[in-house]
């Protein structure tokens, strides 16, 4: 029951409209600045700590800039060879997973979106269930399969899991395809172009903007993931950037300034991705949640 009571004209004019909107704007700005402080505070204080000496940590307030800024803490992180091993493993896992995610994701979305075939409902339902199954707990049963394939302790395990289980790319591609005209496909087919050629020459390039979104979002998810590499890659030489930080943290024994430098280094890649590719990220994240 929508019951709008119209505001009486004289009430509306007791405060000049302009003054009211200025006041509203100021209140909004104060709330938003409060939010920015809340978001930045833990990050900034960690950055402060990462430039402090041991003495500074004790003598200056955590809220203040270092009195004798030092790069020692960063030197320590960057001379740790496991950082580079982690970087290598993360890059490799990332590259292979993304390639497969893009190829399989575009193909699957294209077929589901553009073709009718027997069993389609079943296939769609299967992918839908795949999105609902909670990933953390299935790991107990998945572990058995990965182990049985001899993938435990190799980068193959995480790659298989990233390619098979995280299905947000299907939403992004399907949403994008829904807005692409079908006439292109048809004219290509009439020209005698086969389905595979049609896909490779026309559909795949057409999906490039969606692919950009998929690649960036997946990259952030995979770089930040701790759980899968922690379970499947226990060896020292199997560190990823994230699990490297866990080892590094344990080795610092509460020396916050050295750990802080490690935290900043590990945070940086995804923050940079976010700053440069924000548009794609926000588009993709919301696409994953909005059901057709």
């Amino acid at each position: 029951m929508a019951e709008f009571t119209p505001v009486k004209p004289q009430e509306r004019h007791t405060i000049p409209a302009k003054a009211r909107s200025v006041t509203a704007q100021i209140i909004k700005q104060i709330i938003c600045i409060g939010m920015v402080i809340l978001v930045m505070l833990p990050i900034l204080l960690t950055v402060f700590a990462s430039f402090k000496t041991r003495g500074d940590m004790v003598n200056t307030s955590p809220l203040l800039l270092p009195t004798n800024p030092t790069l020692e803490n960063y030197k320590k992180v960057f001379t740790d060879k496991y950082l580079y091993i982690g970087l290598g493993n993360t890059t490799l896992i990332l590259a292979i997973s993304l390639i497969f995610n893009v190829i399989l994701g575009t193909l699957t979305a294209y077929i589901i979106e553009r073709f009718n075939f027997r069993g389609k409902k079943f296939v769609v339902a299967l992918f839908f269930i795949g999105m609902l199954v909670p990933t953390f707990v299935t790991e107990i049963a998945r572990f058995k399969i990965i182990n049985g394939l001899g993938m435990y302790g190799t980068i193959g395990g995480p790659i298989l899991i990233y390619v098979a289980s995280d299905l947000m790319q299907l939403y992004i591609y399907r949403q994008f395809l829904a807005n692409v005209s079908v006439s292109l496909d048809e004219s290509a087919l009439l020209d005698g172009c086969g389905y595979f050629q049609l896909f490779i020459r026309i559909i795949f390039p057409l999906l490039a903007p969606a692919t950009a979104t998929v690649v960036i979002i997946k990259a952030i998810t995979i770089i930040n993931d701790m759980y899968v590499p922690y379970l499947y890659m226990p060896g020292n030489n199997q560190r990823t950037l994230t699990t490297f930080l866990m080892d590094y943290a344990n080795a610092q024994q509460g020396s916050w300034q050295t750990l802080a430098a490690g935290i900043v280094v590990i945070m940086l890649p995804t923050i940079l991705l976010y700053i440069f590719f924000q548009k794609y990220i926000l588009a993709g994240v919301t696409a994953g949640a909005v059901k057709e």
Partner: protein
């Protein structure tokens, strides 16, 4: 044309074979296998195991630490649930006439992008009892007497961790709400403005119904997230002191990979799935049946 139809079928089969195979092997089969394993005493290694009927279920229900962990999940669930109206209000704010709205939107989503392990350590430092930043803030504003052992006091540790979780995930919900609000038809908004609707009426009668789908998703995401809280307590307290900040998933993973009891862990995993579905159904009933009753 029949050769084209044949080509078409081959294309579909070849294209779908690998993705469907992967999905079945690594998602569907494990999910189903969990149920079977929940009736066994498998240790995760040996080739053979016994079917032990409902023993795992009995021992799960009698496990006090697990119940305690589930109670901790409830803390995350409630804190995040209470935050949803505020998140929605914030999204409305970001969508309204606001200078620098784009910058604020960037900032609000930043925590969601940041490495979860890294930020958990950053918060460990923030709440650290020795030279911790939060204690420093309290002292700076002359509230030093409120200092606590934020991460080792059983009574408050879960709320501190839930706060970290809020810090990380609220921006996600806000951005989703913003997107949903933007999809509200502008003609309707204009018509309502002409009819003299005020901001609250606009929100209640125009925007809220239009974003119910998103509310549904976020409520579901909240249940799924709250039941699966893992990395924040794992990194910041490893569930301690004792089991004071353990969560259901943390306990499940420990049961499997530390105590080698995959059978019991599977039972817990089945329970998590059941709880997620149960809360979702109940919550949906409440929201659509009571709160929005009479809207139509």
């Amino acid at each position: 044309m029949s050769s084209l139809a044949k080509k078409r079928r081959i294309f579909i089969i070849v294209a779908l074979a690998i993705p469907v195979l992967l999905l079945v092997c690594f998602v569907v089969v494990p999910a189903v296998d969990l149920i079977r394993m929940s009736f066994t005493n498998w240790d995760g290694r040996s080739a053979d195991y016994d079917f032990i009927k409902f023993d795992n279920y009995v021992s799960m229900f009698n496990n006090k630490d697990l119940w305690r962990s589930l109670g901790n999940n409830a803390v995350y669930f409630c804190v995040h649930l209470l935050m949803i109206p505020i998140e929605l209000a914030f999204a409305v704010l970001l969508n309204s006439k606001l200078k620098a709205a784009k910058f604020y939107k960037t900032m609000v989503f930043l925590p969601y992008i940041i490495n979860g392990v890294a930020i958990s350590y950053a918060f460990s430092y923030f709440f650290s009892p020795v030279n911790g930043a939060f204690d420093g803030i309290l002292e700076a504003i002359k509230l030093g007497m409120l200092k606590q052992n934020w991460l080792s006091d059983e009574k408050i540790v879960n709320f501190v961790l839930a706060f970290v979780s809020l810090w990380r995930f609220s921006g996600y919900h806000i951005v989703l709400f913003t997107a949903a609000l933007q999809s509200v038809n502008h003609d309707i908004i204009e018509a309502a403005t002409l009819d003299g609707a005020n901001a609250w009426q606009m929100f209640r009668y125009i925007q809220t119904p239009s974003i119910m789908l998103m509310v549904d998703f976020i409520l579901f995401d909240n249940i799924r997230g709250a039941m699966q809280v893992f990395d924040i307590p794992f990194v910041m307290t490893s569930g301690g002191p004792g089991y004071a900040s353990s969560t259901f998933t943390l306990y499940t993973i420990k049961t499997a990979f530390t105590y080698d009891n995959f059978g019991l862990a599977s039972t817990m995993a089945v329970a998590i799935m059941a709880i997620i579905i149960l809360i979702y159904v109940v919550q949906n009933k409440i929201i659509h049946g009571i709160i929005l009753k009479g809207d139509k």
